[in-house]
């Protein structure tokens, strides 16, 4: 069983100092820890055997540490990533107001010179002289800024998954990372936004789910006049024109205001349903339908859907494509196609915000088509399904106005409900009027 001393080294190569030293260390180990020395220092006695026979649980003793270590390792494997992500996850944003103060409800009281709101992620909002603003909800990903009157110059730091919202009157500006000026005149119900960089999605009265406004463009809406315009007008330099004044005299900066349906075709810069699929946007390389939509290339989105097969998109297309097709169809006044896309969106993705909002746009489509009962039905359904949704105020307001032509009782009930829920909303005056009658 034992080998010979001559075969100690596994190879027959030249003997170097390391080999020789190792050979001597092996010999030292063997001779120091010899069987005789072991017997002498560590004798095998009967006591050891008795201990062995008395301790049947010994086998368990060494296993427990293994079990605990494995348990700890498993726990660490679960907890460590969570801890790592938790440590990396930024906390809610904070903000400071420069040359101004903050009220108890988050409203900003302006100082003598230009007031600024500076956020911990580097985003910044400079308020105009007449501006009334409020910092609403703040989270790690962004927050909601309410501009109830006046103008603000905003800069939002582009970051992944940011969710900023600027609520200017009844308009909601969905922001990622961008620079823009936004203005809302409460008295004249006038909304303006000038994009310097990036893009935003604006929704609100007249534009519904709205429109994507890209850099270099200016979107104007006048709710009272039922006017909407998208052009390349540069933002007015500071000092800002008083919002009321700007709203009262839109003519100089609006070559030909858009009024009602089909009017957009008379103005080449208006992207709302512009039939001009051959606009400059079409030449841009589009990587996805959403990108094309964001660029205002609505015709290309519809063409892509037709190329793939409308039925296929409606039945199997992902939500983003379905949503883009519905928007593009609405903007290009393909009401039937838009309606089908919205119904598919609603039926296939009922749990998503897009799916719920499709109900509101179906109401819009029905209203545009003169189907008032259908519109009331869709608006009512939206209010039941998403009572606190983005378009709740508009749904209730539109429903109230439609019903005011027929069922006065229903209109009064809607008006009361509207004033209770949205006392400063864009349909508040109409609601008060209905209640007075």
């Amino acid at each position: 069983m034992r080998g010979t001393r001559d075969d100690l080294r596994p190879t027959g190569g030249p003997v170097d100092a390391g080999d020789e030293a190792l050979r001597r260390l092996v010999r030292l180990t063997r001779e120091t820890l010899s069987e005789e020395a072991t017997r002498e220092v560590w004798p095998v006695d009967e006591n050891g055997l008795r201990r062995l026979q008395r301790a049947p649980e010994r086998s368990l003793r060494l296993r427990w540490p293994v079990v605990s270590v494995l348990g700890l390792a498993a726990l660490a494997a679960v907890v460590a990533p969570i801890g790592w992500f938790a440590a990396r996850r930024p906390g809610p944003l904070t903000f400071e107001v420069i040359d101004g103060t903050v009220g108890t409800a988050g409203e900003i009281h302006q100082g003598r010179s230009g007031t600024r709101i500076h956020f911990s992620d580097g985003s910044d909002i400079a308020l105009g002289r007449e501006a009334r603003a409020q910092v609403g909800v703040l989270a790690a990903e962004g927050g909601r800024i309410v501009l109830s009157n006046g103008r603000a110059h905003t800069f939002f730091v582009p970051r992944p998954h940011t969710r900023w919202q600027v609520v200017a009157g009844p308009y909601i500006v969905q922001v990622t990372g961008t620079i823009f000026d936004v203005q809302w005149s409460e008295g004249n119900q006038a909304f303006d936004i000038w994009l310097q960089k990036g893009s935003v999605r604006v929704s609100g009265p007249l534009i519904g789910d709205g429109i994507v406004v890209t850099h270099g463009h200016h979107l104007l809406t006048r709710v009272k006049d039922n006017k909407i315009l998208l052009d390349s007008q540069a933002e007015p330099a500071e000092p800002l024109v008083a919002p009321e004044a700007a709203a009262a005299e839109p003519a100089p900066i609006i070559p030909e205001p858009v009024t009602g349906e089909g009017a957009e075709s008379s103005h080449p810069s208006v992207n709302l349903g512009a039939g001009g699929g051959g606009s400059a946007h079409a030449a841009l390389p589009a990587r996805s339908w959403s990108r094309r939509l964001a660029r205002g290339d609505f015709e290309a989105v519809v063409a892509a859907a037709e190329h793939r097969g409308i039925e296929s998109v409606l039945a199997r297309g992902p939500l983003s494509q379905l949503s883009a097709l519905a928007d593009a169809a609405r903007y290009t006044r393909r009401s039937r196609l838009a309606g089908r896309a919205l119904v598919a969106e609603r039926e296939r993705f009922p749990e998503t915000s897009e799916g719920r909002e499709a109900t509101f746009f179906l109401g819009n489509l029905a209203e545009d088509a003169g189907d008032q009962r259908g519109a009331v039905s869709w608006y009512g359904r939206y209010l039941r399904e998403d009572a606190s949704g983005t378009y709740a105020a508009q749904s209730l307001g539109r429903k109230m106005l439609i019903e005011s032509d027929g069922s006065r009782t229903a209109a009064r009930a809607d008006a009361a409900d509207y004033l209770r829920r949205f006392p400063a909303g864009s349909y508040a005056d109409a609601a008060r009027l209905i209640l007075k009658q």
Partner: protein, 240 residues
């Protein structure tokens, strides 16, 4: 393998007959019959008789196995792991497993290899546990035994301590294989059997381990100074 026990006739006292099925040694599909007739003492009994006694639960066989294999188990533990305080526990672990598993032994003639295999298994398990404990920085540092009882030469003791530190850098299998082959001087096939490795793998591992250790030893500055001194220690010329 199954063992079936029955009493061979009335009044035979402790005479028992065991049917060892599938025994490797018998090389037959038929159950083998091995009779266990205990003698007055087991000190001179061969491994086969000892296994019979162990399987029968004879306390004298247990004592004899403890006495016969205890020094070998301790020596291997000591030479592989170095002097540390957990050796006693490990030794007991080996025998607990041995007494528990001896009935699964197919060929009683391989008893020595069987217990050596259990010992190497425990050593590898212990080395891995020691590594894990060190890696996780768990409390319970292994206490070292006093080497003075084994080696009176101070330089030689220091050289041994350094050598065991170098061995700590090997993985469990390589370290065990190295000790069995070069310190215990076992045949290659016995090392392979004890570690449950193929002969080729064992050779390859040993060659690699030797080269690595030779390199580590050569580059250890303290060992190169200690080597001449401990040669004297082995010859017993140096004092503590």
């Amino acid at each position: 393998m199954t063992l079936q026990r029955d009493h061979r006739g009335p009044g035979t006292g402790r005479s028992l007959v065991y049917h060892l099925n599938s025994m490797k040694a018998s090389r037959t599909d038929r159950p083998a019959l091995i009779a266990y007739l205990p003698s007055a003492t087991l000190a001179d009994a061969d491994d086969v008789a000892l296994v019979r006694g162990l399987v029968a639960g004879d306390p004298r066989a247990t004592r004899e196995a403890w006495r016969r294999f205890g020094p070998m188990v301790r020596r291997i533990l000591l030479r592989t792991l170095g002097p540390e305080s957990e050796l006693e526990d490990l030794s007991q672990e080996v025998f607990i497993t041995f007494f528990d598993r001896v009935k699964t032994l197919r060929d009683p003639r391989t008893l020595t290899a069987f217990i050596m295999s259990i010992t190497t298994f425990k050593i590898r398990h212990h080395l891995r546990w020691r590594w894990l404990r060190r890696w996780l920085v768990l409390p319970g540092q292994v206490e070292k035994l006093e080497l003075r009882s084994f080696q009176p030469n101070a330089e030689a003791r220091e050289a041994l301590v350094r050598f065991f530190k170098i061995l700590d850098r090997l993985n469990a299998v390589d370290r065990t294989a190295f000790t069995l082959r070069f310190v215990e001087e076992l045949e290659l096939r016995d090392v392979a059997a004890a570690l449950d490795l193929s002969l080729a793998t064992t050779k390859r591992r040993l060659t690699r381990t030797w080269k690595r250790l030779a390199c580590l030893v050569r580059t250890d500055p303290a060992l190169s100074e200690l080597l001449p001194a401990f040669d004297k220690g082995i010859e017993g010329g140096a004092s503590v």
